[in-house]
Symmetry: C2
């Protein structure tokens, strides 16, 4: 009875005082890179069977359409180029690549404040995609996305604590020239946020110019190579089991230029991948293992993210769907495979089929995000803002997504169990002659900020308070927040001389902000 | 190579034909009672520590305020009544109760079509609560809830495939007399749905009349006792660590009357329970173990659901919050404890703090629901329709919740891994001389209905189609569906003679429908 008998502890005033000070980054209730991995939709045996099936698919089916350079790299490490145009991957070749593959990747931020350390089950949430539309929430409308929209998205991401990186979420449809679009994507993104950026390149030829721009932004080629703050989202395969010839050439250029690569296999279950969750994972794993062999044949240990991104399909219509339960399983299952290989990995979660930020958007986005988190996915791509099965990006939804991801991260943080959290002392103090409640105990007050996550725009008022403040609408609150953010200058804006130099060297479409 | 070489399989026409027939209940992609348990937020050691702490709390702190009858029952099995008014529970007494406790509970439906079999990690979703307001979505308004609202909720639940039971979600505020309210709650619920119903009683005295009504509805006392289709949601404790005297007396009456009991401990973390997730779980477990000892002292092996329902609190304001990440962890952690004990258990999930069915409602409701599911919670209470931190119930949200729960159940079903789902044969067939895609393969078509869950109101149109059909609003679709459902007569309506007899025997407030 002794150690749980009632006691009076001092120091409440001191704790109140310390709580009033802003929380150090390390004390925040949630943060980038928290560890998941306690949700395992696959049994160990299932994982082995998927691995074995992927190895057999590589050995027996192989991939076609590698560029000549790729065939040379692949055969140099023991792959077999068949008469049927397919490169096949003997098991030992894959195993060798797995041995040499990079297992800890740092995705740098431009200012060093938001570097992402990919390893183990450390989880990060961010945007991604190639939406062709902007969602106009006020007008309930879809319209072409522009370079200004992309820059605005970058500015918004820069302000959101729970969004850890910006992968280019939409296509600048106001820039018809592909080279200009790719370069302006970099300009608009980097001038909007210093967080890590992911982008794509339409053609291998565009990579040189992109690197030139990145060297200028970094200050020098050496500075860029020391801390590359942009990675290449590379759709190196056209599922099923075909290399994307040009994207492979882009990949080779990016590796040469020191840009980390996301090996992205985006099969659609039921169309370009098997219709079963397990089968779609097998194929995605096989394709990414092929990519891994390729990358490690070029440069052993080069940072490459294992990007198994199988998507779901509505089999009734043949249209893509990103917001299903099947999608959440596809993504969580992939996370478990990444963890099995011990490779930094990423996949898509948080997509919704809803057209607007409505209740459907909320439940669909949360489901795959929280499961990806607790499954320990290193890079949760597409996690916020992505509507209409990837066709539309929504700034308001992105802003609301910050609350949603904070919530998912709180789950990811999990349940701490130790003497203090078990709370037996406190329980005795409260119940045995104490106040009979825990309001205002030291333990309660001290945990108010460091353990609990509070929504920023999410509403917690009582119905009475809600009526008194005019029954605020969630989407209108997001519109207001968007306008506030966009009215301020970008913290990531380039210094005037650099900006002038970039505008001199490249045709920049984004007007001076 | 042999077993994955290309092949042509017959039978596609036969499969198409079989698919056109309505799916047998057993073949539906999701169903009540699917097994969870593959999400474990607590380590085995954490579980042990929580169990040990709960045992110590029972042994050293105990509970006060048991009714005299309760003290007699409890001391009869070895509990110790102390001079301080607290009953303490020696470890061996708790262990004995755990040995004799009922481990498989059937919660019957009135028509036998929707019986719930509680055991292992079998998961069921339903309503619950004691909301005092109805959410008027069209008018963006909160108003007092009525007996008609309750009946309508029951009718709606009866039509929703993924909502497995109706626990009384709201209070009939148009019936000021508590006895009449309790009896009319039964009448309004049972005349709206044949699914299993949960309800509460304000005073022990009301139970006799309730049983009389239930015997009439069942046809006889024997029929009622053979398959009791209603359980008693019983808040037998006032946390922290106090019995609720009157509720305990209600419980004794219900046990006598053959009504299964939900032992509901609803502490609020930071107010009536420790502010830590682990501590709130410890206290809830201790309280429910006390209830278990109580029930098994009255009648060994009597069906009692282990209802650890800790709620979250917004520590900034001291107001309850049901939609947080902390809440999802509280509930999932409790599910793991139920599983540790091998006891049928229930907890609250799916609550939202949002006032209306908006994006916040979606993400908050999904988060705790899907996690409760994969944690293997037998009874997920409050899973749909519950807004404003339990203060408001919403029919439209309930209807949309059917889609949300279908989605969560698809996740719960998990990933099947076998030769067919791994799909290596199919992959070879498609890639090696085949069509190069999986659209229309036998495997894809055969899985279209039995593997995939499709939303009913959730939108999957393309932006173009969406515009063409007039940009439907999700909440308006739910309003329309509600009106359709409520326009039809209740399938659970009592036969005219029974209805007349009930109206003769009791003051029924619900007008003939």
């Amino acid at each position: 009875m002794n150690d749980i008998s009632p006691r009076r502890s001092g120091g409440r005033a001191a704790r109140r005082a310390s709580r009033a000070a802003p929380l150090d980054k390390s004390l925040r209730p949630v943060r980038p890179g928290m560890e998941g991995g306690f949700y395992k939709p696959l049994s160990d045996q299932d994982v082995d069977r998927i691995h074995e099936a992927a190895l057999r698919a590589l050995e027996e089916i192989g991939l076609c359409d590698a560029p000549e350079s790729g065939v040379a790299y692949l055969t140099s490490v023991g792959c077999i180029a068949g008469d049927d145009g397919r490169v096949r991957f003997p098991r030992h070749v894959v195993e060798k690549a797995l041995e040499t593959a990079c297992r800890e990747i740092t995705l740098y931020s431009r200012d060093g404040e938001n570097d992402l350390k990919l390893s183990g089950n450390r989880v990060h949430f961010g945007t991604a995609g190639a939406a062709v539309n902007m969602v106009d929430v006020e007008g309930r409308n879809y319209r072409d996305s522009t370079v200004q929209d992309l820059h605005d998205a970058a500015k918004i991401v820069d302000t959101l604590e729970n969004i850890h990186f910006l992968q280019r979420p939409m296509v600048c449809r106001d820039i018809p020239d592909n080279r200009e679009m790719d370069l302006n994507t970099i300009y608009a993104s980097c001038s909007g946020t210093t967080k890590h950026i992911g982008t794509s390149f339409t053609e291998p030829d565009f990579v040189d110019d992109a690197l030139k721009m990145l060297h200028m932004i970094a200050g020098s080629e050496e500075a860029w190579r020391a801390k590359p703050f942009m990675s290449n989202s590379n759709c190196f395969v056209v599922p099923p089991m075909k290399f994307a010839t040009e994207a492979c050439q882009v990949m080779e250029k990016c590796i040469e230029g020191g840009m980390p690569v996301l090996l992205l296999s985006a099969g659609m279950a039921g169309a370009t991948a098997p219709s079963t969750v397990a089968g779609a994972i097998v194929q995605a794993v096989a394709e990414c293992l092929a990519g891994l062999v390729y990358v490690n044949a070029i440069k052993p240990g080069y940072p490459a993210i294992f990007g198994t991104w199988p998507f779901g399909l509505d089999l009734r219509t043949g249209a893509m769907t990103g917001g299903s339960g099947e999608q959440a399983l596809l993504t969580a299952g992939c996370a478990q495979m990444h963890n099995f290989y011990g490779l930094p990995g990423g996949a898509a979660a948080g997509m919704t089929d809803a057209k607007l930020p409505d209740m459907q958007a909320g439940w669909e986005q949360m489901c795959s995000n929280v499961l990806a988190g607790i499954a320990g996915l290193n890079m949760v791509y597409e996690s916020v803002g992505m509507h209409a099965s990837l066709l539309g990006f929504c700034h308001e939804s992105l802003i609301l997504g910050d609350d949603m991801i904070g919530h998912a991260q709180r789950v990811l943080r999990g349940i701490e169990v130790d003497d203090a959290t078990l709370g037996l002392d406190q329980m005795a103090e409260v119940c045995l002659g104490g106040p009979g409640h825990y309001l205002g105990t030291d333990e309660t007050l001290s945990r108010m900020e460091k353990d609990y996550v509070y929504p920023s725009l999410g509403d917690r008022t009582s119905p009475k308070e809600w009526a008194e403040i005019g029954k605020p609408d969630l989407n209108n609150k997001a519109i207001e927040r968007k306008e506030e953010i966009l009215a301020k200058p970008s913290k990531a804006a380039f210094p005037p001389e650099l900006d002038a130099a970039l505008r001199e060297a490249f045709k920049i479409h984004l007007p001076p902000q």
